[in-house]
């Protein structure tokens, strides 16, 4: 049996999308797979904390707790973490889970029942997964549906603002992947990161503003705004630091400062330049082992430029193909077990080395490391914990 052109899921999705209500996302998906006999379609969206996939509901604004699949130990979770289609035979048909992602930005999983399963169907549903992602991202501009689908709890105001500031959590281009995560996802305020890819070069920044909550989130918005402003004006790293420092010092709420790492990666040859403004140093990992800490003179945190220089050493390193660099905020290493033992940098290095040796993707590396830190503190982090991992394949 061959599927006719009019029954192709991608075609049907695009046609249904033209006239569908903005929030009738699951209905469009159901219409998309009708031509291949698909039914019981569900979209499972990854939650902000990257802990569970939440099934979409008819009425996402209702207060009822939605059904959720854990990332570890469910078929949907397997499709998500491995970025591959998973299918199992069940009751004479097939239950199928299709990853929905745009490049390395993983949004969720499409689940459905299908009457048959072969190479042709697998190809059709795989391309459907690729088509769903950009539609979903675009719809987030005019409906709250994707934002509501990705939360499992109420979010406080600081976190709401913070999330609207962030770029996609993961992005790949030209042999480079950057992936970040923030915890506690529903109460975060003050930790932030940003990046942009232009002309073969990746610019990135990790910022940890002082304190916690709304004031920190507003300050983070100001600092990230100044960062983007300078980046788009063609600032070099030192100019960027000065510009963000000036913005933070002009902020009326005192004290206003944030530690930061600012950097640039040339994706053609792996040359990375970076500097730290009072921020914990990044950890470099190569061939499954972490490298020793670089000897770097830091600048002051941004916003303290009245006390001394915010520009310290600007370091240049040449990455080797396969290298990874982990940036993190002190909330990761400061997380405590109930007995008071800090997570610490040594533990962080061990886990990082292990995950890199196991060949995990950058987004899986950050997810697993953050999960380990959260488990370490038994879910009670004392501060925001953010991690950004940059992998370069060459």
């Amino acid at each position: 049996m061959t599927i006719g052109a009019g029954d192709r899921p991608v075609t049907r999705l695009l046609l249904a999308h033209q006239t569908a209500h903005p929030d009738a996302f699951v209905e469009s998906l159901a219409a998309a797979v009708e031509g291949i006999g698909g039914r019981d379609v569900e979209f499972l969206m990854i939650d902000y904390a990257h802990v569970a996939l939440t099934a979409s509901r008819d009425d996402p604004t209702s207060g009822a707790e939605p059904a959720a699949a854990s990332l570890d130990g469910s078929m949907a979770g397997r499709a998500f973490t491995s970025s591959t289609v998973v299918a199992t035979e069940r009751d004479g048909g097939w239950h199928v889970w299709v990853p929905v992602s745009e490049q390395s930005n993983r949004l969720g999983v499409l689940a459905m029942q299908l009457p048959r399963w072969d190479e042709e169907i697998e190809g059709l549903v795989t391309e459907l997964g690729l088509a769903v992602a950009p539609l979903l991202l675009a719809s987030a501009q005019y409906t709250d549906l994707p934002h509501l689908m990705s939360r499992r709890h109420d979010m406080d105001l600081a976190a709401e603002m913070q999330w609207s500031l962030l770029p996609p959590l993961s992005f790949s281009a030209a042999g480079m992947t950057i992936a970040g995560l923030l915890q506690p996802a529903y109460e975060v305020g003050g930790d932030c990161f940003d990046y942009a890819f232009n002309d073969g070069r990746l610019d990135f920044a990790v910022v940890d503003t002082v304190g916690h909550g709304l004031n920190s989130a507003v300050l983070a918005a100001l600092m990230i705004g100044a960062y983007r402003h300078g980046r788009r004006a063609g600032d070099d790293l030192a100019d960027l630091a000065s510009r963000i420092d000036a913005a933070a010092r002009a902020y009326p709420g005192h004290p206003a400062f944030g530690t930061a790492i600012l950097g640039r990666l040339d994706t053609w040859d792996g040359t990375m330049t970076w500097m730290t403004c009072g921020h914990p140093l990044p950890i470099f990992v190569r061939n499954g082992a972490t490298l020793s800490e670089p000897d770097v003179r830091p600048g002051l945190p941004l916003g303290m430029g009245d006390l001394g220089p915010v520009v310290g050493d600007i370091v240049q390193v040449v990455l080797q193909p396969g290298d990874g660099v982990l940036f993190y905020t002190d909330g990761v290493t400061d997380s405590r077990m109930p007995d008071g033992t800090a997570f610490g940098e040594d533990r962080l290095r061990d886990i990082l080395a292990r995950e890199q040796a196991a060949g995990a993707n950058p987004h899986e590396v950050v997810r697993r490391v953050i999960r380990t830190a959260v488990e370490h503190s038994e879910g009670d982090l004392r501060d925001d914990a953010t991690m950004v991992y940059l992998g370069w394949k060459g």
């Binding site: 940890d208 002082v210 304190g211 916690h212 005192h254 004290p255 400062f257 530690t259 730290t276 009072g278 921020h279 914990p280 140093l281 830091p298 600048g299 002051l300 945190p301 303290m304 009245d306 006390l307 001394g308 310290g312 002190d330 400061d334 800090a342 004392r382 501060d383």
Partner: protein, 139 residues
């Protein structure tokens, strides 16, 4: 619950502030000498203790040099550091200085990472901080 006591030891007035942290083990005190005062902080200093830190640091007149003794502090986060920085700015504006002293372990490391040890200034122990303060002169 924080308490505030004033007493006189010998010829030198002494102000002591006891500030109970979440686990009840944070004790802070301000010891006055002539124009160099030592603010001693204890325990874990994080976002939950900034009000106590502010109160202790505000207990030192801006005209005086202030040594912040961290010898018995086991943890500081950026919220706590921000209070030191604010105190340093206030004292600078008044012509005096804040000197951080005797940070250990993880606390010492945080001061190095944030470069605060380079700008506040920093002394390895309280006696050195006193000499440093004396060399800065009367304000």
């Amino acid at each position: 619950m924080a308490t505030h006591e004033e007493s006189v030891v010998g010829d030198q007035p002494m102000t002591t502030v006891h500030a109970g942290g979440p686990d009840g083990c944070d004790v802070t005190e301000v010891v006055m000498t002539r124009n160099v005062r030592v603010a001693t902080l204890e325990g874990e200093l994080d976002i939950s203790t900034v009000d106590e830190i502010d109160r202790v640091l505000a207990g030192v007149a801006l005209a005086d040099h202030m040594i912040i003794d961290l010898g018995r502090v086991s943890f500081v986060d950026s919220g706590a550091l921000s209070r030191f920085v604010q105190a340093a700015r206030r004292h600078r504006a008044a012509g005096s200085r804040v000197i951080i002293a005797d940070a250990r372990g993880a606390v010492r490391r945080v001061l190095a990472i944030t470069q605060l040890d380079a700008v506040l200034p920093y002394a390895e122990d309280v006696d050195t901080a006193r000499s440093l303060a004396a060399s800065l002169g009367e304000s």
